[in-house]
């Protein structure tokens, strides 16, 4: 039995090669020249569009492709073209532009000391804008702090958003939440948590509740690329898969989690979309800066959910064009021009280009709309500021601080409120 072998003795006789740790690093750091030419991005129109009732195992490759509709010239191509009419496209464009104008003003307001903190979604506006147009108000969105576009798309009053950011007397959250942590049940917008990842199992549970009741509402949730590392994400996928919950699980892969690039979250070797494969969930990978692609992918996933076929994971491939928040300085950890040369461009520019290509729009109209929206935001800002800003003017009544901990205030809170003298 010359060809057989003995198990190694319990001690020794190992390969003695020294092991080493691999610590992933982004390709470019400050001072270096970013270069995305080696990034593999499928052509617009290249990724197939299966029927929504296709078995997940028969469409695993979608997790490695990329749904793109708009080609380099702004023309819609391929099977995912949602064929939207110009009015709808213009609504999308306006939502994105208004989101950006709003962000710009609030960012400045923070810099002026009118509030403690702000977070922009610059470059990622399509992700929320398109989804909000596909979903209805009866559906529930479980967003992170970077989907303010959902509220804006639903015409939630800018003034109320600002009141929240300023924690002023008219703040719908009564001064309790950090800025940008909105909540609006009537608009299908779930109360945002400061703790990353927790909303994902909640969205699955909400969707399960709709199915449990025999209702027709679906849920959608968003999570950042970095936050997918939290256990909640996995736990949500299991529940979504096992109980076939009517939910859309969106990953917004904007390449960065504060200063950590996507590779630290395991996104360098595998796509985030491919996380779905082990749960037998279909996964779409989408050009997140292509409004039409996001729209089409969301529509596909929503149809699947509404047909009782269960959950879909969508990875939105995009880029966080600005700092993480007003507390961040991205020039400390990435080249300042990275965003500018990012190959998928800017979602507003691309939709504008498409409308122009359709003959429905022009640079002048764009400029006029921009000015109109800036003025709208400015007016809202002025109105909101009459109700106070964080450190000046009116605040919510202090006694509300003790309310809503429980439905009724118990003796502890009553006693403590007295202790505070109110």
């Amino acid at each position: 039995m010359a060809s057989t072998r003995t198990a190694p003795p319990a001690k020794g006789l190992k390969n003695s090669r020294a092991l080493s740790l691999r610590i992933p690093e982004p390709r470019f750091r400050p001072g270096e020249k970013a270069d995305f030419s080696s990034l593999v991005i499928p052509e617009a129109g290249a990724t197939p569009r299966p029927e929504v009732d296709t078995a997940p195992k028969d469409m695993r490759e979608l997790a490695y492709g990329m749904i793109r509709v708009l080609d380099r010239d702004g023309q819609p191509v391929g099977p995912w073209n949602p064929k939207l009419d110009p009015a709808t496209l213009k609504r999308g464009l306006k939502t994105m532009m208004l989101t950006r104008a709003y962000d710009d003003r609030m960012y400045r307001a923070q810099r002026q000391g009118k509030t403690s903190f702000y977070m922009k979604c610059t470059g990622e506006e399509a992700v929320a804008a398109a989804a909000a147009m596909v979903l209805t108000r009866e559906d529930m969105c479980f967003p992170t702090y970077r989907q303010q576009g959902l509220l804006i798309a639903r015409d939630y009053p800018l003034v109320d958003m600002m009141n929240q950011v300023y924690s002023n007397a008219k703040d719908p959250m009564k001064g309790r939440q950090l800025p940008v942590m909105y909540s609006s049940k009537k608009d299908g917008f779930f109360t945002i948590s400061g703790n990353l990842g927790t909303q994902v199992p909640q969205a699955v549970g909400w969707a399960m509740a709709s199915a449990y009741k025999g209702d027709d509402k679906i849920a959608a949730t968003w999570i950042g690329d970095g936050s997918t590392a939290e256990g909640d994400f996995h736990e949500a996928m299991i529940f979504a898969s096992v109980y076939r919950a009517p939910v859309i699980l969106n990953i917004v892969n904007n390449q960065w989690a504060i200063s950590s690039f996507h590779g630290i979250a395991g996104g360098e070797d595998a796509t985030f979309a491919s996380r779905a494969i082990g749960y037998n969930l279909p996964a779409l990978r989408v050009d997140g800066n292509d409004f039409l692609a996001v729209y089409a992918a969301t529509e596909w996933a929503a149809e699947r959910a509404r047909s009782n076929l269960g959950a879909t994971l969508i990875e939105h491939y995009t880029y966080r064009a600005e700092g993480h928040s007003t507390s961040d300085d991205p020039s400390r950890y990435r080249p300042t021009d990275e965003g500018k040369i990012w190959p998928l461009g800017d979602p507003i520019e691309r939709l504008k280009q498409h409308l122009i290509a359709l003959g429905e729009w022009s640079d002048d109209k764009q400029q006029a709309l921009y000015e109109e929206l800036v003025e709208l935001v400015r007016a809202a800002g002025r109105e909101s500021e009459t109700h106070g800003t964080l450190h000046a003017g009116e605040r919510p009544s202090i006694k509300t601080m003790f309310e809503d901990v429980y439905k009724e205030m118990d003796w502890r809170l009553v006693e403590q409120r007295q202790e505070l003298g109110i």
Partner: protein, 351 residues
Amino acid sequence: MNAMTKTEEAKLDAASPMNMIQAINSALDIMLGRDPNVLTFGEDVGYFGGVFRATEGLQKKYGLNRCFDTPITEGGIIGTAIGMATYGLRPVVEIQFADYIYPGYDQIVSEAARIRYRSAGDFTAPMTIRTPYGGGIFGGQTHSQSPEALFTHVAGVVTVIPSNPYDAKGLLISAIESDDPVVIFEPKRLYNGPFEGYPDKPVTPWQKVEGNLVPEGYYTVPLGKARTVREGQDVTVLAYGTMVHVAVAAATEAGVDAEVIDLRTLAPVDLEAIVASVRKTGRCVIVHEATRTSGFGAELSALVQEHCFYALEAPILRVTGWDTPYPHAFEWEYFPGPTRVARALKQVMVG
């Protein structure tokens, strides 16, 4: 046993001597029957009826959708329950042992407890988490823990611990009807019968305990209200769960005229009942199974001395589990049994 007050007795027309598991099962059965928004799930909760059999028969009776098994992920169980509760359902989830609640701790502390407050009432999470806790069953480190103090510190959560079948059912119904998230720790050592802490004494099943009658139908025991189990003049004993029975036995063992209060709800605790009793007796002993340092006994001690300082004739004493994990072989050295409680009662009498 002095489990019921006069008004409660009125409801005992159709009552039977249930054990605590049956009482819990009955509460779930009634609420599943009354409210289509109530559903229950957890590990092994469905077909099998739960490892302690609290959900036995419910899947069969109410269907797969109303009572089902879940993946083994306490975070997922609690997280999805929160989502359901915000939809308008009233989920009742079982965490198989309280020792396993920690993977779901973030969802409880950061989410269930905060959602009403942070959304200014826009969203609420009315949900109930049931979980067996406590020692006395040779469960070792991870089947014996008493983590209640980790919840009483969390504003926004109601923490409940019953000590008998009647309360277990009535408190569970109140919890399910509560618009706030409630965590109920069920003293698993009491599931089958009261336990006074004498390991060698045979256990009397609840069915044979005098006065243990649980109404078959709907009733509630209010949250936030304690119950005086044994009236006394000399010293107040604050206890909950298994320790209620131990305290009563200890009073007899010590020959001290102790007033034993079963707190039933820990947060918000029934301060009025505590203060009234301690002002009367002038002495106080606090008993719990949990690790001493920062246990709920610390809060009780602080409250008592804040509100009864001038009435106190001796230091408040704590009789508790030790500041160690729960050791398998030393069950009875760890468990704060009647002998240790009796010693404290005598000690507090001399001051």
